[in-house]
Symmetry: D3
Subunit: 250 residues, 6 copies
């Protein structure tokens, strides 16, 4: 079984990719082969809806390619599930994002859960996003963010785990959370340590999406053609260019 992971951030090195594959491979069956690709032509890091808008075209192109290369499933390596619906329309193999997988996993481990994000700016969008994942949205207790720069998350992992455990404890004590979700795929491999500190289950969205995809492929399940119908046949071209965001004056 071969799973293609599309990482919708630009320019990760081979070593960085391999590190992630190695960790994820620990939670798959022995017959599962993982492969990860980054964005190569769009210098975008998913940190806003604007970024999703700009990256979507290349994401879809990679998804179509993965199907042509006979992969068995496609994973969007991001909590925002960027372009997942478009990829499901375009591809005949299962497509799953880290966000939906994490929320559904949380729902089966307890009644009420919280999400730990990287930035307070993204909280409103995440609160909205959960309504589209199929999870009962009243199960979400709270969304909190930690005080760490995205690019530093994996540089000092112990510090990141400290931050996560501290905010996670507030979710439990102040908001009533019974389960926690790490709200960014860059927290890969930290859930177990956070869980030990807090004494409650903590979901690693990257692991959740990989094992859920493995399960879909084993069951021969693919998303519904009625929910995500194949778009009308025909070629489509689109714009090339450059957008600068400088305090809202381009």
């Amino acid at each position: 079984m071969r799973i293609k992971i599309i990482n919708p951030d630009y320019g990760m090195t081979t070593a960085e990719i391999q590190e992630r594959i190695n960790i994820l491979q620990q939670v798959t069956g022995p017959d599962v082969e993982l492969s990860m690709d980054c964005l190569r032509n769009s210098t975008v890091y998913i940190d806003s809806a604007l970024d999703v808008a700009l990256a979507s075209a290349e994401i879809v192109q990679q998804a179509i390619q993965a199907e042509q290369q006979n992969y068995d499933g496609i994973i969007l390596y991001c909590l925002s599930d960027p372009a997942v619906v478009a990829c499901r329309e375009a591809a005949g193999i299962p497509v799953l994002g880290g966000g939906q997988a994490a929320f559904l996993t949380a729902a089966s481990l307890g009644y009420n859960f919280s999400l730990l994000c990287t930035s307070p700016q993204r909280i409103p969008e995440k609160k909205e996003f959960i309504k589209t994942t199929g999870v009962d949205p009243t199960r979400l207790c709270s969304i909190r963010s930690i005080d760490v720069n995205l690019s530093n998350i994996r540089k000092d992992m112990n510090k990141t785990i400290d931050f996560l455990a501290r905010e996670g404890r507030r979710c439990v004590e102040e908001d009533g959370a019974e389960v926690l979700i790490l709200g960014c795929l860059s927290f890969l491999g930290m859930a177990e340590a956070v869980s030990k500190r807090i004494g409650l289950p903590v979901i690693d969205p990257a692991m959740a999406v990989v094992t859920m995809m493995e399960g879909f492929i084993r069951q021969g399940l693919c998303h519904s053609q009625k929910s995500y119908p194949t778009p009308p046949r025909g070629s489509r071209t689109w714009l090339a260019g450059k957008v600068s965001i400088n305090d809202k004056t381009n």
Copy 2:
């Protein structure tokens, strides 16, 4: 007051654009100036989430440009509100799509409403979409589609109105609708005729979004920076290319 209407379909002629402007100008205040642009570089017509993924980049670019040209507001001329969130992040002037405007308008004219779409394929997506518009989703009675090709909608308008009135009556009699929404911006100018046949209010989403935008501008209101924060400063490039969808083999 100057409002830019972004029509996210490719290649409309100047005459076609002018026809729409003329109709819409009838429902604006005398001091409102409307201007409409189509996609020029993306040969895309919004008929799927894939199309939205491909068109989003150019839509955002046009929105940024409209703000630079000192427009007072931006309208997405489509019921799916494509890239509206990205445009709100990128622009400091109000941005509104036809879908959200139509749903909110319907909610103030009666308790329960139905939507009349152009294709049965898009019904699941529309049912999902309403959850993100801020309208109480339990107000939606039903979504029905009419039997007419998108490109024929405006060729024989009387026939289209017949279809809309017939399906609209089923929404009222079988589904309990009290208000109807025309589910495509191409139905422009037909709501009044359908309403006369059925005896209930019928929302023209293009008119709804134009008058709602006019109201926002008069009140000096713009979307919340907290809901739609300005993305991190910096340039972003993205992919140019071509995607063919041929029965899921590229």
Copy 3:
């Protein structure tokens, strides 16, 4: 276009009415004519459901009169939308209250909003009221009240604005609000100042309802006869009299 505003409070002076009209006229199109009437025969100020019960008859009578005088629309100048449903049944022109208009406007400017009321006593009723406005009630973050007597609201406007800004900031910081709604029509003209202090959109319900009504009239839209059917034909008389509320002993 002529809009009748029914102010369901007793005994406002001509000067007070004119002050409100002047402010509101700034947000209408140049072809809109506003006119406001107060209750003249019911010595009631809307500050409870009891007050609504007592004022309803005169409100309905004024609404019927406005239609006879060929007004194009009727506004209930109150956040509680008193007797709006009865007026919609009785009148064949659009009828809209400040509450529903404000909630629907808020829903299009961000995901989650809070309401700033004049009295903590009215909070439970307002929380209930939102369920009937057509807005997704899960969007309401919180309702908070400020510490100012109703009759003093417009005497020292800067002080009122201070109170609103202070409580509004708590809505944003403690409750997660992204948009604010001023919860009384007497806050007319203060939204802009509060918005500047807080950096987020603030809805003036009086302006919201006037521009929304203008939009309805331009579109030729009226509430649904199926939602608000004309009552059975015939005369109805009702009670005249006096009710004293003295600590629950009449």
Copy 4:
């Protein structure tokens, strides 16, 4: 224990009132004394929100009087619970309407229920009303109406029961109802016969509200002063007059 029943319809005869009391007395404890009053000064029959608007003042006045006369509880004898909130604000003894009582009773006898109304015109309003009763609104399967004139309901009771049983069966077979509610207090005494025909529980709202009120009084419970605060002290006068509804031209 003495319970005052306010019947918000004009001009019932003493015999008609006594007939209702006799039936209701069969479901009360032996120590319960029922007394019913009609509207005497408002020539209104509750068949619209307009009627509620006109009758509210006299209803509230009767409620205040009932408390002065040392009644232990007040019942609004109508499925629309007219002016119940105003009466709760004005009175320090429990106040309950037939609608809320019937919905809460249904919720404890099965999962999903339907409502049988007297007129298709009132269905939208009833569907809205349930959201304010405290019952989980997703429990409502359907609202159907029977084909009988209000004034004939009690003239040929067997015929009315036939109609109710026929429509009730459709609720069960087509809509999935497990419990039925008779949607008008004039169906008094017919629930048992309908239940026997259908084989499922059928709620008589008049009986439901009387026994629920009896239970409140025995428990010493009264509605919350925080939900329904006493209005500000002071006299209020209101309008006397006459409204004619003639095809929307007064």
Copy 5:
């Protein structure tokens, strides 16, 4: 009218039972006869879902017996409504638990209510439970627990009332509660004292379920055979034995 109360805790003395009956008899009609049985063969006290699983068989057996002994109704004397659905399937007389009765009663006395439990451990389960009671779950403000051992609740009642009043006040002031529910049947007889301290209605679930059952019997109502169908005819045997829970090692 004879009502059987099944107390799903083991080994209460005759005196303890009689004390409860005496208190409850004060809120019934003069023609109501109450009788209470405890578990006799299962040494279980309901303090977890495991306890419910173990006690269910004996509860059902007692319910079947009560019907055979011509009781008119069966009450489950517990806020968790243990085995109520199974009892409704097995018995042809009305069955009601303290939890559902308390929630439905609260819903008719105000908009929003809180629950006061005996242990913080049971809060997540209670929050889930309310979704199955037919009450609108958005009415629940909060669940708080007091600091008292179950076996001490009735030893120093004044102390228990102090704890309840203190936590209840926090529900009102911090969570917005307008009505309180005592979250354990062992708080019997304390609601009135708590209510006097707080100035808001406080529901005694034991009293609520007894008076609601009395009302059902007077109305001749029983739960729906469609919601709770009689199980297929036939004998069923089940396991006898012993389970020890010792830190998860049996």
Copy 6:
């Protein structure tokens, strides 16, 4: 990895059990070992809430035993998830039922789904059950049942598949389903054939729960101790005996 499957029906033969294991083993990773036990001491087949009440004690006992025997996870082989909450409280290894697993799987393959049951009698209970699974309950389009006796389901599998495909098509065409769930674990192995006939994904709940459990174990995840706290330490005995259900007279 060793997974214990508890089949809460009495008296399956070794051959019947082996047939199920063989089918399920096809969807697991090569390193997964499945083992299934039936009820041995309770002559119960889960076909009502009463049956769940009677079987629960033995189910819990088997779950405790499975943990003692060092299994890595426990599956309840039934769509009703009988005693799952009690097992989660009692066991320190993950516990999952077929119902919750099937609903969560459906939610990730499309927006709206239907359930195909074995009996119309169980439809109300299933509609209620979904509210407790963590899935957004508004995603459920409909529940339909097929016309086949439980004991014949696997005797003529082609006939069962025919029935499922026919009813499934009605879910799609009349109710708007985009995904189907087979509503009984006895439909094991039939989903693929039904899916081919209908052209949409069909969930086999037994396969869904096995692959989801495999994923949990690989991730090291277990249900939350806060949601399902370990019950107070101590022995509990319970009743042995016999219950006969004969038309509600024992």
